[in-house]
Structures are given as structure tokens and as C-alpha cells.
């Protein structure tokens, strides 16, 4: 189906089911229970999962296929967000024009940066992209404040023109982002026993776009164009000696991946109409590299998993505090309770990045192929038990899974 092989179709369908059922899957614990702390099924985080998943899918098209490590991808994300918010300020609160403009602007911006940066490869390319991204960040943070509103971030206000919409609603508030009237932030809440499931319009818009992006990425992976990009990764010199000009291919990959980032940035702004300069900072660029490597660079599903993993740590672990720890361990005797809290304390709350760092190190050392490799190893373990023959032929033949 969709011009995909049977295996890829299956993968796409599984991903589609997972994203559509995310509100159930991410809320496994009844609200009010002690474990509810680990629920991730609320609109904002689910939106972030798919949006950053999209960002990482795009990044992986460049890094996973061509091997060019861009350290400045957050710049495109930021540019996408700013374009979208400007569209909300000037045109209307409908998300369609905002998304379209953010992709176009990110494409143009990545064409410019890619054209210059791709003159070099390897570490020089990474440094060039990093320099451009930091330049964009500093411009957005201070120099271009009239356009970007600097440190505070660009917000929509009551006196924006909004030519095709209203400047303010009848009750005197700022209108909300919508898709032909369906408000992005509207959420349907479903109470099942003591469980609460939230179905958010914005999330489903993001999820559908993520699936489209995922589908497109499968098509690119399997296309002759994708094969050419892999050839660039394995030996660019050999390609050149055969008389091929590789630059159009790498530039196309760079721009496509920049457009994914722009789309992700635009979606972030659609879900929450604010564009902050921090979105362009080098830490944000580094984050997408981490996501891709953590999940498994060069694999289809890996970047999405990595994105979800990092966002989960950032949003869930950072919110656990000592009070909650004391609740968890309250069954233990007093001395032991305090000891446990003392032991766990450095890894939660403000220590969330420490926990993430340790996990990242463990994954890179023991699972060089990322989380996907972990999944494959577990899968192989089961397969070996059921069917004996040829356990070693599987991994090398399917590098893109």
C-alpha cells in the first residue's frame, strides 16, 4: 500500500496506531495514584513528542543518510516558529497559512546556509552550521528585537492587525489558534473509572502531519535518491571519481531536512503561539543530535523514539520533587525513608539532565545502534528461542530499520 513494501507498510501502520492511541497508551496509571506522576498523556507533552519526533525524522534524513552532522538545525526550527507567529499576528489565527509559511521560510533559510556550509564536509561542516545557528540565535535574542521581541519571545497581542481574522475576541481576549474553527487547544476529556484520557485537537493535527512526514521519510529512504545519499555517506570521493556531482544531492537533503525542522517549528508555534530565541540556541541543536543518536541514527523509527525519550525526561523527571519522593517511600521506616530520598534526590527535579546524561552514556556504550538496537536485540532473543536458523544474517542486511 502507498507504494511501500509490505514490511514498511506494516511499520507505518504500527506507528499510526501508536500515535492515534497515544492518549490511552501514555496514561497507563489512574489519576490520583502515586504512579500518576509518570503519566505523559497530557496534550502539551504529547504534542511535543510528535513535533520533536518530526524534527528528528527530518534531521535523520540528513545525518542518517548522508552522514553530514549539522549542529545548527535548531535555527530552522526557530525560523519556522517566528514565521508562524508572524502569520498569526498579521494574517489570521488559522494554522494552515502559518504552517505553509514556516516551511517555505525554513526552506529558503536552509538553502542559503546549506549552500555555504556544504562547501566543506566533516567537522568543518558541523562547525559552519553551528556558527550560523549561534549567529541566528544572537540576532534573534538582541539585535533583531523589533522582529523577534528578543529575550521574551514573540507573542501575539491584542493590537495585532490580523487582516483575515479579529484582533480580539468579543470577550476582549486574544483569539486562539485554530484549523477552520477547530481550536488547537480544545481537549475532549474522557473519564473511565479513575483514569482520565485527554484527546486534544492540536495533538491530532501534529500526529497526522508527523505520520505524513514519517511516510515521506520512508519513501525517501527507499528511493534511488536515498540510495544516492547513502552512497555519499559511504564514500563521497568514489562518487566524485565516477563523474557524479554530489552537491545537488546533499543540498537537496539539507533543504528537505531544514523544511522538516521548519514544519516542526511552525507546529510548535501553532500549539502555543510563542517563539522564543532559545529555540535556536546550540543546546537545542545538540538536543536533536542526541535524540537521533539515542534512538538510532539512520533508522526510520529511532529518531522518533529518541525524541520521545528526551522530552519525557525533560518534562516528567524535572517535576518530581522531594515531597513526592517522601510519599513514595513513606511505607519504609523513617531512617530508611530519608536514606532512600537522599539517594534518589540527585537524579530527579533539577537533576533530570544528569539522569538523561547517564542514560545516554549507557546507550551509546552498550547499544551503539541506539534504542532501536536494544529492541532488535530483545526481538532476536525471542526469535532465537522459537526458530534456530541463521540468527546472524538479519542485522547487516537491513541497515535502515
Amino acid at each position: 500500500m502507498f507504494g511501500l513494501t509490505k514490511k514498511d507498510t506494516l511499520l507505518l501502520i504500527v506507528v499510526a496506531i501508536l500515535t492515534m492511541a497515544a492518549p490511552f497508551l501514555l496514561n497507563p496509571f489512574p489519576s490520583g495514584s502515586a504512579m500518576a506522576q509518570f503519566n505523559a498523556g497530557y496534550p502539551d507533552l504529547m504534542q511535543r513528542f510528535v513535533i520533536y519526533g518530526l524534527f528528528a525524522i527530518g534531521f535523520n534524513l540528513l545525518f542518517g543518510l548522508t552522514g553530514y552532522l549539522s549542529f545548527g538545525h535548531a535555527a530552522f526550527l526557530g525560523v519556522g516558529s517566528y514565521s508562524a507567529v508572524w502569520m498569526f499576528k498579521l494574517l489570521s489565527m488559522n494554522v494552515i497559512p502559518a504552517i505553509i509559511l514556516s516551511v517555505i521560510v525554513a526552506a529558503l533559510f536552509s538553502l542559503l546556509i546549506g549552500f555555504i556550509s556544504l562547501r566543506r564536509s566533516g567537522i568543518y561542516f558541523s562547525i559552519l552550521t553551528l556558527a550560523f545557528a549561534q549567529m541566528s540565535f544572537n540576532l534573534a535574542y538582541s539585535v533583531l528585537t523589533p522582529i523577534t521581541n528578543g529575550e521574551t519571545g514573540l507573542q501575539i497581542t491584542l493590537d495585532d492587525p490580523r487582516i483575515l481574522g479579529v484582533s480580539r475576541t468579543e470577550s476582549g481576549g486574544i483569539p486562539v489558534t485554530n484549523l477552520f474553527g477547530a481550536e488547537m487547544r480544545s481537549t475532549y476529556e474522557m473519564h473511565v473509572g479513575s483514569w482520565l484520557f485527554q484527546f486534544n485537537t492540536g495533538y491530532y493535527l501534529c500526529a497526522v502531519l508527523m505520520l505524513l512526514g514519517f511516510y515521506l521519510s520512508i519513501r525517501i529512504f527507499r528511493s534511488p535518491f536515498g540510495m544516492m545519499l547513502r552512497a555519499v555517506k559511504s564514500n563521497q570521493n568514489r562518487l566524485r571519481y565516477t563523474g557524479l556531482n554530489t552537491k545537488p544531492y546533499t543540498l537537496a537533503a539539507f533543504v528537505i531536512s531544514g523544511m522538516y525542522a521548519g514544519l516542526a517549528g511552525g507546529l510548535l508555534a501553532c500549539m502555543d503561539p510563542l517563539a522564543g530565541a532559545e529555540r535556536m540556541q546550540w543546546t537545542a541543536s545538540g538536543e536533536v543530535v542526541l535524540m537521533t543518536i539515542l534512538g538510532g541514527a539512520g533508522t526510520l523509527l529511532g529518531p522518533v523514539l529518541g525524541a520521545g525519550f528526551i522530552k519525557y525526561f525533560e518534562n516528567i523527571f524535572s517535576k518530581i520533587n522531594d515531597t513526592i519522593l517522601h510519599q513514595w517511600f513513606s511505607a519504609l521506616p523513617d531512617g530508611l525513608e530519608d536514606a532512600m530520598v537522599f539517594l534518589v534526590h540527585p537524579f530527579i527535579g533539577k537533576g533530570w539532565s544528569l539522569t538523561l546524561g547517564i542514560t545516554f552514556m549507557l546507550v551509546v556504550i552498550f547499544l551503539p545502534g541506539g534504542l532501536i538496537e536494544g529492541g532488535q536485540r530483545i526481538g532476536r532473543l525471542f526469535r532465537r528461542r522459537t526458530a534456530k536458523p541463521a540468527p546472524d544474517s538479519a542485522p547487516s542486511s537491513t541497515p535502515a530499520e
Binding site: 529575550e151 521574551t152 519571545g153 470577550s171 486562539v176 528511493s223 532559545e278
Partner: protein, 448 residues
């Protein structure tokens, strides 16, 4: 290069699946019986404490969190009650808020607008927080205030000093207890003139972002009105740690006062370097060279160590004040944590009490009713003397402290001493003042 196999069947299949996908969002529409966002239904009410736990202002954030936890204890009737006993409004009885026990959730803003909004959203969407408070940077405060306005919950600003928070970016659902850059200028300028004379030439080094600009503008206007002239204003990139290249030209500029519009780690670095360059020992135009830091914090003073001796600045509050409210607060904070609170801690503690009190007086958690109870509210006993929550811009008006680095501090918490308590009347301004113009509160949003 991409091969395509367009078939009628394929197009139909793809189209129908895509159509179904696009139709999904329209199935779900908002449905909610509550009168306002996160109306508490059980026997607890959840407050969201959103402070920087990582990044440059993590120390401030940690102190704010301590104050919030203390405030929750006192609201629930635990501990010694702190400023509840000195607060002039007696609506709070130590029985939670409106009979509901106060619970709280915490989050990390990372001092980034984006992360702060994500954290605040998770508090509202996941934990059902009815009020968000916190922040150690004006950018973050303005961003979160905007979010709370959209989501329909109250935002009680923590440490935010920029004029914009209650100026051009003010919001109906947002309230600020902390003072602002304009008040710093109005309080500081007369003291500067009194100590250093009226014929001074000031050189400004300013952090290159919104807060830095509004502060520089405020100080320049306030000092120039009293006869000072401004030689130059140099913007320093926010990520600078080495200010030597900015400090060297100061000596040759003919200026005899250096104003450092920096905060946090930036201020610690720039001040330390200025002192190392020997600026304070120089004589320019026949006058002693002076350095001014308009916004002080206890934590910065601690970081800068001996460099701050004799340097003037302003704060919102100080634990060395001798009124009953301050004494009660310092006592209960000190008993719990073993050291005195910073002025960031005090503003956060006061904001929590003010919110709880407004809910009691309004008889509801509805942001509109509660906001009306805060607007124009006059109170005392929270450490700052008689205070007014002005209805026109949701800014508190109270005395401002001018502080000076102590010559011989007795402990690391005793680095600053009060030079003057500037009366409230001297720092008041019209809501239409040009530095605050351009925004409007809009109408309160109860969400839902």
C-alpha cells in the same frame, strides 16, 4: 528520480486514509462543565511553582522554592504561621484556602521562555494547577504570564524586575508584587546624587536584552533629571563572562561613574572585573570614581564577595528590616532552613499569601473574582510596609530599599546594609507613563 506507481486503486486508498486522518480532529470538541479552568473539586487545591532549577538563576530558584514550601506549610496551619500572624487581612486561618488543603507541584523553567511555558502547561493540563507562580527572569515571567492569560489561570509573578511585566506586556490574569526598574531608578537616583554629587558623568554597561534596556532607560532618565549626564551606553552580549574589553574604555571616556545594568552571574563577573581594574581607586575629574549596581540580590552579593563593599544598589526587601512581618518571616524561614531568606524568597512567599487571601475574600478560585479581589487591595504586614495592588496595571506599590555593600560583613548573609528606605510616594508613577505604555490588561480570562 523517485519512481511512482500511480494507480486508480492506490490513489483511492491513499486518499481515503488521508481523509480519515484529517477528519479525526473534528470528531473531538471541547466539552467541559466547569465554570473555569481547573476548578478544584476534591478537598485539595493545587498551586504550580515554576522556578529555574537549572541554568544561571538556579540559586534564586532554589530559594524561591523554599519560600513557596514555607508558605504552603503556613497556609495549611503547620509551622509557626510566619507572616500570616502579621498580615493585616485576617481572612486566612491556617485551614488551607477556602477549606481546601493546599498541595503543590514544582517545575523547572531552565530560565528559557519555551521550557517555562512547557512546564507551566504541564502543571495546568496534567496536575490541574489553579495558579502558576515563579520566575527569576523577566523574559520568562512575561512568557508565562501570556500563557496563563490564554489558559485562564492566575499568574503571580515571582522575581521579575523589567518594566514590561506590568507595562507593555501586562495581562489581566497576571499580578506582580516585586518592584521594577523604574522604581529602582526613582529610589536610587536621589541617593546617588546625595552621595556622589549632582555633576557626575555616567557610563552604562547594559545586558543586551529587554530587562537590561528598560533598566538602563529608567536609571538614565532618573539620574539625568537630577543633573547627571550620560557619557555612553554600551550593550554587552548576554553570554559574556569576560567584560575586560568593555571596562578598559571606561577610564578614557571621561566618565566618573560606572553603572552596571547586569544581573546574576553577569553582574558578579562585571563587578569583580571592574574592581580588579582598580576603577574604584581612580580619581577622574577630581572626583572619586564610583560603581553602581541598580538591582541587587543577596545571592549576587554573596557571589561577588569583597567586590561589593561600598557599592550602592536597590532591592525589593531585606531580611535586616525590623518590622513585625519581616521578623516573623525571617524567624520561620531561618528555623526551617538555617539561613535568612533572599528578597526573591520574600516576594514569592508574599505572592502565595496574597493569592490565598484573595481567594478567601472573593470566596472563589475563579480568576475573575479572585483578580477583582486583588485589584486595588491595600495591605500591610508582609514586610514591605503599607502596600497597594494597583488595579490599573496589577503592580504593587510599596517602599523601595537602597542598599550598600557592607564594609565589614559579619557573615556571608550579611553583605548588604540598608542606606535608605525610599517612601512609596517617591516611586509611584502614572499607568500611562511612557516607559509603561503600549499594552493593556485586556479582560480577565477564566478559561473553560
Amino acid at each position: 528520480m523517485i519512481k511512482s506507481h500511480l494507480t486508480r486503486r492506490g490513489v483511492l486508498k491513499t486518499g481515503s486514509v488521508a481523509g480519515a486522518g484529517l477528519a479525526v480532529p473534528t470528531i473531538f470538541t471541547a466539552s467541559s462543565a466547569a465554570a473555569y479552568t481547573n476548578e478544584p473539586t476534591g478537598n485539595t487545591v493545587t498551586l504550580g511553582f515554576n522556578v529555574p532549577q537549572t541554568g544561571p538563576y538556579a540559586d534564586e530558584g532554589a530559594d524561591e522554592l523554599r519560600a513557596y514550601e514555607l508558605a504552603v506549610e503556613h497556609l495549611n496551619g503547620e509551622g509557626d504561621g510566619g507572616m500570616l500572624n502579621t498580615f493585616t487581612s485576617k481572612a486566612l486561618t491556617g485551614n488551607g484556602i477556602l477549606g481546601k488543603k493546599v498541595a503543590f507541584v514544582t517545575g523547572d523553567t531552565q530560565t528559557k521562555s519555551d521550557a517555562a511555558r512547557a512546564s507551566a502547561k504541564s502543571m495546568i493540563e496534567k496536575d490541574g494547577a489553579i495558579m502558576i507562580t515563579g520566575g527569576s527572569s523577566s523574559g520568562v515571567a512575561v512568557a508565562v504570564q501570556g500563557l496563563c492569560q490564554e489558559a485562564g489561570v492566575i499568574f503571580m509573578a515571582g522575581l521579575t524586575h523589567s518594566n514590561d511585566t506590568t507595562g507593555k506586556d501586562k495581562k489581566a490574569n497576571g499580578f506582580r508584587h516585586f518592584f521594577n526598574a523604574f522604581m529602582s531608578g526613582a529610589a536610587l537616583a536621589p541617593v546617588l546624587v546625595k552621595n556622589y554629587g549632582a555633576d557626575r558623568n555616567a557610563y552604562h554597561l547594559t545586558a543586551d536584552y529587554t530587562w537590561g534596556w528598560t533598566q538602563q532607560e529608567s536609571i538614565q532618565a532618573a539620574t539625568e533629571a537630577l543633573g547627571w549626564s550620560t557619557v555612553n551606553n554600551v550593550l554587552t552580549p548576554l553570554a559574556s563572562t569576560d567584560f575586560s574589553s568593555y571596562i578598559a574604555p571606561v577610564l578614557n571616556s571621561g566618565a566618573d561613574v560606572l553603572v552596571l545594568n547586569h544581573y546574576g552571574g553577569n553582574m558578579v563577573n562585571s563587578l569583580t572585573q571592574a574592581v580588579q581594574f582598580g576603577l574604584k581607586d581612580k580619581m577622574v575629574n577630581g572626583k572619586q570614581f564610583e560603581i553602581v549596581v541598580p538591582l541587587y540580590s543577596e545571592l549576587m552579593a554573596k557571589g561577588a564577595g569583597a567586590s561589593i563593599k561600598g557599592i550602592l544598589g536597590s532591592t525589593n526587601w531585606s531580611w535586616t528590616l525590623q518590622d513585625e512581618g519581616t521578623k516573623a518571616f525571617v524567624k520561620s524561614f531561618g528555623t526551617k532552613y538555617g539561613f535568612p531568606p533572599s528578597n526573591a524568597a520574600q516576594t514569592c512567599y508574599a505572592q502565595t499569601l496574597l493569592y490565598a487571601d484573595a481567594a478567601e475574600r472573593a470566596g472563589t478560585f475563579n480568576p475573575c473574582g479572585l483578580g477583582a479581589a486583588l485589584e486595588g487591595f491595600e495591605f500591610d504586614g508582609l514586610g514591605n510596609g503599607p502596600t497597594l495592588y494597583r488595579a490599573a496595571d496589577h503592580q504593587c506599590f510599596k517602599d523601595v530599599l537602597v542598599m550598600q555593600g557592607k564594609q565589614d560583613p559579619t557573615s556571608e548573609y550579611d553583605a548588604l546594609e540598608i542606606v535608605e528606605v525610599t517612601p512609596r510616594a517617591q516611586v509611584e508613577y502614572s499607568p500611562e507613563h511612557p516607559m509603561f505604555a503600549g499594552g493593556e490588561l485586556g479582560s480577565c480570562n477564566p478559561g473553560a
